[in-house]
């Protein structure tokens, strides 16, 4: 079986749209609310989750045949927690500015349901390489939704994008004010709901 055979590419592609972890499986919502009021943390969070899901998937896939099935969740949790701690320590040592910016979000990756979901549903049954692709795919699918939501929230909530002002001053002079509601968590719910709506309207197979 080739490295990029059709089946492997499916593991990478389907989580992007057809089985997107956020909009279709509705996983990882909590962090999607927390980190999307600005674009920069959303991007970093998306990337961190992608890396950690991929690595955790590979490790669990490598040892999947030795894991006693009754304590498999605990083993998965230990692997994820160890990886997150490692990433956080390495960031603190070599990219201190990034780790300061992310602050609590790095720790929050442990609680992201996508991680446990993919470990349990995919890595426990598949070989390391497809598991790796599945992790990358799911991480990017998650990151994509985060970025979409964060762009809308930052533009309308703060009038900036990646902290650069995008709404010209003349608009403010004409009486426009930033929408404070956009910065609140409920607005992320509405935006995710709109994304889900658009996606389901386009893809009939997702409609229930």
């Amino acid at each position: 079986m080739g490295l990029f055979s059709k089946k492997n590419m499916e593991a990478l592609n389907t989580p992007l749209l057809k089985e997107n972890p956020v909009t279709v499986q509705v996983l990882g919502i909590c962090s999607a609310l927390a980190v999307t009021s600005k674009l920069a943390p959303a991007i970093v969070m998306g990337l961190s989750v992608t890396i950690i899901v991929a690595m955790a998937n590979v490790i669990i896939s490598l040892i999947r045949n030795t894991i006693p099935s009754r304590i498999r969740i605990i083993i998965q949790l230990v692997v994820v927690a160890a990886l997150v701690t490692l990433v956080s320590e390495v960031l603190k040592a070599f990219a201190y500015d990034v780790s300061v910016q992310l602050s609590v979000y790095v720790g929050l990756i442990i609680t992201n349901c996508i991680l446990m979901g993919r470990l349990e549903a995919f890595a426990m049954q598949n070989k390391p390489w497809p598991s790796f692709l599945d992790g990358i795919g799911n991480g990017l699918g998650y990151a994509m939704i985060l970025v979409i939501v964060a762009i809308v929230r930052e533009i309308f909530g703060s009038g900036t994008l990646l902290d650069f002002p995008v709404i010209p001053q003349c608009v403010y002079d004409a009486g426009y004010i930033n929408n404070g509601l956009m910065l609140m968590a409920p607005m992320a719910f509405f935006l995710i709901a709109i994304v889900i709506w658009v996606q389901r309207a386009k893809d009939k197979s997702l409609q229930e």
Partner: protein, 292 residues
Amino acid sequence: MAKYVCKVCGYTHEGTEAPSVCPLCKAPASEFELVGGGEAQGDAKKAKKGFNTSSDAYAIIYASIVVVIVAFLLAGVSSLLRPQQEENIRLDKKKQILASLNIKNQPDAAATYSEVVKQEAIINNAGEVVATEGGFDVANDAINDSNLPLYICDVKGETKYVIPMTGNGLWGGIWGYVAVNSDGNTIYGVYFSHASETPGLGAEIAGDKFQTRFPGKHIIADGAVTLGVTKKVANEECEVNAISGATITCNGVNDMLKNTMEGYKAYLVALQKPIVEPAPAPAEEAQVTEEE
């Protein structure tokens, strides 16, 4: 015998083919996945090593081994990276102190810091200097009325005093540095940061928009700390407008400023009196009283 796992609920069925309906969640046969190759390998391994992966002993030993490996790994990484991390934290602290003096984006912050900061003193709440060095290494939880760090700096020939402070925001800790002019009353610059305030709201205390409201404000009037952050500014001289939507964080900044300044008050008030030098005394005194 092959194993089939229900993708919906995780129910495992053993048999030659998948059941037509999952007995747990009623999912159709198409939802079942054959746990094929892996399981066969596992069986082979089991047979070879004589392990029964579903036995209690195996589970306990397995868990212990995993925990020991992870513990050693994390402990090793942590102690390996510790010096680097502490260096980063010290450098970051220096950058924050420089930021309060409006010195930002220096390529070599450590060098600039040693150039600018002349003394890392420790004072007490009576205004006496306890030690002239070691102020930098005072841990946040070791700060008390008799152990107050103070950075005496020299910016372009002018003496500035940097006061570190910590407080509580909405979700977690907030901290900052306030640089005071040599008159012991006027703010030269501030730096605030936070652990986990709400982005776009409380987190804005770390932004320039909020921090540029401080320079020029007076800390003490008539022997009391008047510097503060409020929603409605009554006294332009010493009060700063809060950020709307971030009331709790701004109250935290307000409390932090007031509490910290209380300890440094005696020292700052002493600065406001002219230093015992014979000649310029009268003129300076008049000026200082005016500012008060």
